[in-house]
């Protein structure tokens, strides 16, 4: 089967929509785009089953990774070194392409119903072009069989992210958000490229860009990268991880993700929940054989993951914009994923990628449904009681909520608990300083983050769906208490445009969204509910590993991650966590349903903490002051004024002046008078004659 069709179909869709441009209406453009992705999804699933079939057949033969490959053309060739543009789908990529195209299809269909704003009518074709382009890039990223192909996709998703975040580019704030995303991504990409260069350089003559060959080379000769645990491989892995922090929004490069909520909600669902942000995890899983050689790098990954999880969770508890809460929740959950891979469970972290894609995309789409129904209202303080008006949205959102807090039986429960237990029981860091206590500390941080998660998600649920509807009667401009700055700016432009629209009807109640929006919600809700079956933990599966772990095993089989065999604490810890989560939910219920006046009072008592959390711990401001401002000033005062104007212009103009001067000097020979020319001739003759005379 033609693997190339899978990415080619969305690319074709983008081209068709680009050619049609303004002539295509929302439905037509969306229909074309969705068809392309749906077809790609069908092919992806077929490929998945094909790989699965191979897995069963070859499982007996050791070492063989079941895969489907297609070589497209030879891209670069320099002597013995060559890079091919090829696609390779092994179990890891097979799952990814199903997720990308599957959830992608749902979101494309959803977008047809979502992008109904009149002002978008002429430009909605652009939206679908970018969406298709994004799917294409993401597919290239996960299907590429070598670094360059993956990097094409890597850059492509960054580009599409920028285009989509700044889709409503006429608003300067949104455009800035897009720019911020791109630039921050770029910093990460720079780190990635440096790692790639270092790796390439270390390998010397046996350098190869192809993943399969790279694995063979590195495993056969670890000394090339300085031996396991050495400085070289640790540096390389950390640089690669730097790229992941940019793409997957970890500390310190996560700052673009909350601002990215400026884009349309389907974008947030697809890119910033389910796919692009998971490319960092994918990359680490793909390069598992490299990371496995450096426990120090893994420790850093795990630590940053846990830190990010906790850090983002502390911000989410105070945000009032529903999308911002979900954004910080995404950052936090990504932290969980990195924690998972960092402690050595590649399939555990990856499983969380899968479940998170289900429930986070669901919740973003649900939020989109709400935003759409309330005419671009995003402030939760103006919501409430929506479960009466939008039952389907509520029901599906509830599924996602239960999954993310880790309610037993839901998908999120299995993936998150696996990560927590594996964090606690990992023995990967034994050889490092603080190695024995680190897993426990990380577990504590992650569990705390989980508690926060339960709290703020419950808060979101209660503020949005419970109680009575607070919006519509008074205008959107009434933001109540004083803290409105950053939290509300994400939707300012949306809200004001409809100032006269929303409340002209007095008590205009919201109503459920159309089927084109609710259908994807239902599908994702089912996945959030039953997704756990994909990878049941051993205790629930009769001691066997889950389906996903088994399926992915060939990809990770060469790396042996040490985990403690002592499972005695597993259930007690799980029980403890569940109790604490229940307590968090209860606390949120108390604060936001039973005693709604209390949150403001608590905030006033803990003013510093509250303000800090609300203002994202001032990270953006710190970056602005310490990095951005000096860069701008340095560029202006030094690079432009001195280097460019003085030195470079001086050199160029100086060269021109020198040439002119030299020319003018020589022009003095051209006197225009015959006799001076004759003098020249005579002088030459004199020299010749003298030379002859002196020679004899």
């Amino acid at each position: 089967m033609m693997l190339a069709l899978i990415p080619a179909l969305p690319l074709l869709g983008a081209l068709v929509n680009a050619i049609l441009n303004k002539r295509a209406s929302r439905v037509v453009a969306g229909g074309i785009a969705s068809t392309a992705v749906v077809l790609a999804a069908v092919l992806s699933f077929l490929t998945f089953f094909q790989v699965q079939g191979m897995a069963h057949g070859e499982h007996g033969a050791h070492g063989e990774v079941p895969h489907v490959a297609q070589h497209l053309w030879t891209w670069m060739k320099a002597g013995p070194f060559s890079v091919d543009f090829g696609l390779r789908v092994d179990p890891l990529s097979a799952v990814m392409i199903c997720v990308i195209t599957g959830i992608g299809s749902l979101i494309h269909i959803y977008s047809i119903g979502y992008m109904t704003d009149e002002k978008d009518a002429k430009s909605v074709w652009r939206f679908f072009v970018y969406l298709n382009l994004f799917v294409f890039s993401m597919l290239l990223l996960v299907m590429g069989d070598s670094f360059p192909v993956m990097f094409v996709g890597w850059e492509g998703v960054g580009l599409c992210s920028y285009l989509l975040i700044g889709f409503w580019y006429e608003n300067t704030e949104y455009a800035k958000a897009g720019k911020k995303a791109f630039v921050t991504n770029r910093v990460g990409d720079f780190s990635f490229i440096l790692g790639l260069f270092w790796l390439f350089w270390s390998l010397g003559d046996s350098a190869t860009m192809n993943f399969v060959e790279l694995q063979k080379v590195v495993e056969a000769n670890p000394a090339l990268v300085g031996g396991a645990g050495g400085l070289t491989i640790t540096g390389i892995c950390l640089l690669f991880f730097g790229g992941a922090t940019g793409k997957s929004a970890q500390l310190p490069l996560y700052v673009w993700l909350p601002d990215a909520m400026a884009g349309p909600t389907p974008v947030s669902a697809l890119i910033h929940a389910a796919t692009m942000v998971t490319s960092g995890i994918y990359m680490i899983c793909r390069l598992n054989f490299l990371f496995a050689m450096s426990p120090a790098a893994m420790a850093v990954i795990a630590t940053i993951g846990a830190l990010t999880a906790l850090f983002a969770a502390t911000i989410a508890v105070t945000q009032t914009d529903i999308k911002k809460v979900l954004a910080y929740s995404t950052v936090s959950q990504l932290g969980f994923m990195f924690l998972g891979v960092g402690v050595g469970s590649f399939d555990g972290g990856f499983f969380h990628v899968l479940t998170h894609a289900f429930f986070k995309a669901l919740m973003f789409l649900g939020a989109g449904s709400i935003i759409h129904a309330l005419h671009h209202e995003q402030d939760m303080r103006n919501m409430g009681g929506l479960r009466k008006y939008m039952p389907v949205t509520f029901g599906t959102f509830l599924m996602g909520y239960l999954a993310i807090i880790g309610f037993p039986g839901f998908s999120g429960f299995f993936s998150k608990d696996e990560i927590l237990w594996l964090t606690f029981s990992t023995e990967l860091f034994q050889g490092l300083p603080l190695g024995t206590v680190m897993p426990k500390v990380l577990w504590a941080m992650a569990t705390t983050a989980a508690l926060f998660t339960a709290f703020y998600m419950s808060r979101l649920m209660f503020m949005t769906f419970a109680g009575s509807y607070r919006g519509g009667a008074h205008g959107h401009d009434d933001h109540g208490n004083g803290a409105h700055g950053h939290a509300a700016h994400g939707h300012d432009a949306h809200g004001h445009g409809h100032g006269g629209h929303g409340h002209g009807h007095g008590g205009h109640d919201p109503h459920e969204s159309p089927a084109v929006i609710t259908f994807p919600l239902v599908v994702l809700a089912l996945l959030s509910l039953f997704g756990g079956l994909l990878n049941l933990s051993p205790w629930a599966n009769g001691g066997h590993h889950g389906f996903l772990s088994t399926f992915l095993h060939p990809v990770f089989q060469t790396v042996k991650m040490p985990f403690s065999a002592d499972h005695t604490l597993e259930f007690p810890l799980m029980g403890l966590t569940l109790l604490a989560i229940a307590a968090s939910v209860g606390l949120a219920y108390h604060l936001y349903v039973q005693a709604p006046h209390k949150p403001a009072a608590i905030a006033a008592k803990m003013k510093r903490l509250y303000e800090g959390s609300l203002h994202k711990w001032y990270v953006d401001e710190i970056y602005e002051a310490t990095i951005l401002k000096p860069l701008v000033i340095g560029s202006r005062q030094v690079l432009w004024a001195v280097v460019d104007t003085l030195i470079i212009d001086g050199a160029v103009n100086g060269a021109a002046s020198a040439a002119t001067g030299l020319g003018k000097l020589h022009a003095r020979v051209q006197t225009g008078r015959v006799q001076s020319y004759a003098l020249g001739i005579a002088a030459g003759a004199a020299i010749l004659v003298l030379a002859y005379a002196l020679g004899t």
Binding site: Q675, S676, L679, A682, A683, A685, A686, V689, L690, Y692, A693, L694, T696
Partner: protein, 166 residues
């Protein structure tokens, strides 16, 4: 006859010197004529009888007349240049010329010898030259004819250049 040779050569050289140094172009032209006469005498002493006659006829008789005609026609006065021109151009010019002269003379050391006394009979006569030009085996026939064409062209060219517009 060496003395005669030196005498006429001296005349020629002095006349030449007058040619290049005098201010008045007429003086210059007349001095040039005198120089030609001196050279013609030298030719005779060197057994170049035909050439001597041609020198008087063509150079002194035709070319210099032409020169004097033109000088008169243009009604040129003196140069206005100072007698002793010490400008950079003059110094360079004289220096270069001097170098050429010195170099030439110095290079002629190898030519220090006497002429043999015997010269073939009828050497340098018009007959001799005529035979050299027009003999069937002569290489000079074609150049001779070409030169006549050249002269024709020169005449036409001169007329075309100098005529008044009609």
């Amino acid at each position: 006859m060496a003395v005669l040779f030196y005498f006429f050569s001296l005349l020629a050289v002095l006349a030449g010197f007058v040619v290049v140094s005098t201010r008045n172009p007429i003086t210059s032209a007349v001095a040039l004529v005198a120089c030609f006469f001196g050279l013609a005498a030298d030719y005779v002493l060197l057994d170049a009888h035909f050439v001597a006659v041609i020198q008087i006829l063509v150079y002194a008789g035709a070319i210099m007349v032409l020169f004097i005609f033109v000088i008169m026609l243009l009604n040129l006065r003196g140069d206005g240049a100072p007698i002793l021109d010490l400008s950079r151009r003059a110094l360079f010019g004289v220096a270069t010329a001097g170098l050429i002269g010195v170099g030439l003379v110095a290079g002629l050391e190898s030519a220090r010898r006497n002429f043999e006394t015997t010269v073939p009979k009828d050497f340098g006569t018009i007959e001799h030259v005529g035979k050299a030009l027009f003999a069937s085996s002569s290489p000079w026939l074609l150049p001779f004819e070409v030169v006549s064409v050249l002269l024709t062209v020169a005449v036409i060219g001169a007329v075309v250049l100098a005529k008044r517009e009609i």
